[in-house]
């Protein structure tokens, strides 16, 4: 998936619009200018530009922008992650999004979130005879989470492993998700379980 100039501008606009919707305000030029100096929105702008340069043969510039994001905001987002329009970080600190993660549109992250492929050894990933051939390349090829639209993550929560989450999923604060869940789930605890009522899941 490459990202053209027009797409980048549209993505930046939709990110700002989502942030304004969250604050119940209208998107004006003045407010857009203000967002360029607010650290939470600034880091998402830098991320979009990073992806733009990554797909236009300017990888050194992309790595410089990701370096700025890491040093100033401690936000580490891999260029190969695919995040839809309307990406909002409420507080940009200590956020990590690993390689090959796919997130739908209009997701809201809190602070200190991690979304990545499982860094651990799990038995699901290999068969009994495969133990010796399970080399580093296979660890990197561990499948990353695939997440639907309208994700909301509380502060300190972690999503990891080869899982898929539905749309309108809410993850509570400081919980760790390691299994797949359907639409409209409300996840709580370490390890996370679904606490949504039956009547709400429609």
């Amino acid at each position: 998936m490459s990202q053209s100039t027009r797409q980048t501008i549209a993505l930046l606009r939709l990110d700002m619009k989502m942030r304004c919707d969250y604050e119940n305000k209208k998107l004006t030029w003045l407010r857009a200018l203000r967002f360029c100096f607010l650290h939470a929105t600034l880091s998402s702008i830098i991320y979009r530009l990073q992806v733009f340069f990554f797909y236009h043969y300017l990888k050194p510039l992309a790595s410089l922008l990701s370096f700025i994001n890491i040093i100033f905001f401690a936000v580490k987002i891999d260029s190969s992650a695919k995040i839809g329009p309307g990406f909002v970080m409420l507080h940009a600190n200590f956020i990590t999004i690993g390689a090959n993660v796919i997130i739908g549109k209009n997701c809201i992250l809190g602070h200190q979130n991690t979304i990545c492929a499982s860094p651990f050894y799990c038995e699901e990933n290999l068969e009994a005879d495969d133990v010796k051939t399970y080399l580093l390349e296979d660890i990197n090829a561990n499948k990353a989470p695939i997440i639907g639209d309208h994700l909301m993550m509380g502060g300190g929560s972690v999503i990891f492993g080869n899982i898929t989450l539905g749309t309108h999923v809410k993850v509570s604060m400081n919980s760790a998700v390691d299994k797949s869940f359907p639409d409209h789930a409300v996840l709580l605890g370490v390890p996370a379980r679904n606490v949504a009522k039956q009547s709400d899941q429609k």
């Binding site: 200190q112 860094p119 651990f120 050894y121 399970y134």
Partner: protein, 202 residues
């Protein structure tokens, strides 16, 4: 007593393991690239300040800790004893002075190893002992004097309150409970990366 030669060999082992972890060749350019990263800077600063403390240069650790806090957001006590092949993957890692950690361990960020918050702990006697090839997920915390065996995986956001662990299990939850991984017990050789069982890489 920590000699200069020991410190340099430890730093070399850290570089080697980090390069293996990222799947890069051990060339000079790749080493320089890694040198800038927050995790690697944190490891090097810890090694240098650990050398300074045991060689009557303790005043230098004040300045080093300021750089550490500003650049990598870590607070690793120079009195902690950590074996070669250490990898800090993320930021915001706190390790107390009474920690003894084996070789080839991985910290994935936002980890805390502390004894200060608990009553009835003798800071001179008790210690957090972690074996070789352990992995601490992002947000994993250890808050008791504990003896963790080799190759234990502590999953994200779990808080470990046990006093002893056997080999061949992973810890997950608040407070952390054991989950068996049977095939780990049979395996005698360990990959230095991520505590995954394979043939040893030199």
């Amino acid at each position: 007593m920590v000699t200069l030669r020991e410190t340099i060999s430890n730093i070399k082992a850290d570089f080697q393991r980090r390069l293996l972890l990222e799947g890069k060749r051990p060339s000079l350019l790749n080493k320089l690239r890694i040198c800038v990263k927050q995790g690697m800077v944190g490891v090097i600063l810890y090694r240098v300040s650990h050398f300074c403390v045991y060689n009557n240069l303790g005043f230098l650790t004040r300045f080093l800790s300021i750089i550490e806090l500003l650049y990598c957001k870590n607070e690793v006590s120079p009195m902690a004893i950590i074996g070669p092949g250490l990898v800090f993957e993320g930021v915001a890692i706190g390790i107390c002075s009474s920690a003894i950690i084996g070789k080839n361990c991985t910290f994935l960020g936002r980890n805390t190893l502390s004894l200060g918050m608990i009553e009835g702990v003798d800071l001179n006697k008790d210690a957090i002992t972690i074996g070789n090839y352990c992995v601490l997920g992002s947000g994993a915390r250890v808050m008791r004097p504990i003896n963790i065996a080799d190759g234990i995986q502590i999953k994200p956001n779990s808080v470990v309150m046990l006093t002893e662990t056997k080999q061949g299990c992973s810890l997950f939850g608040i407070p952390a409970r054991r989950r068996r991984i049977d095939s780990i017990e049979k395996i005698t050789q360990w990959n230095p990366l991520l505590g995954i069982p394979i043939a040893e890489v030199k």
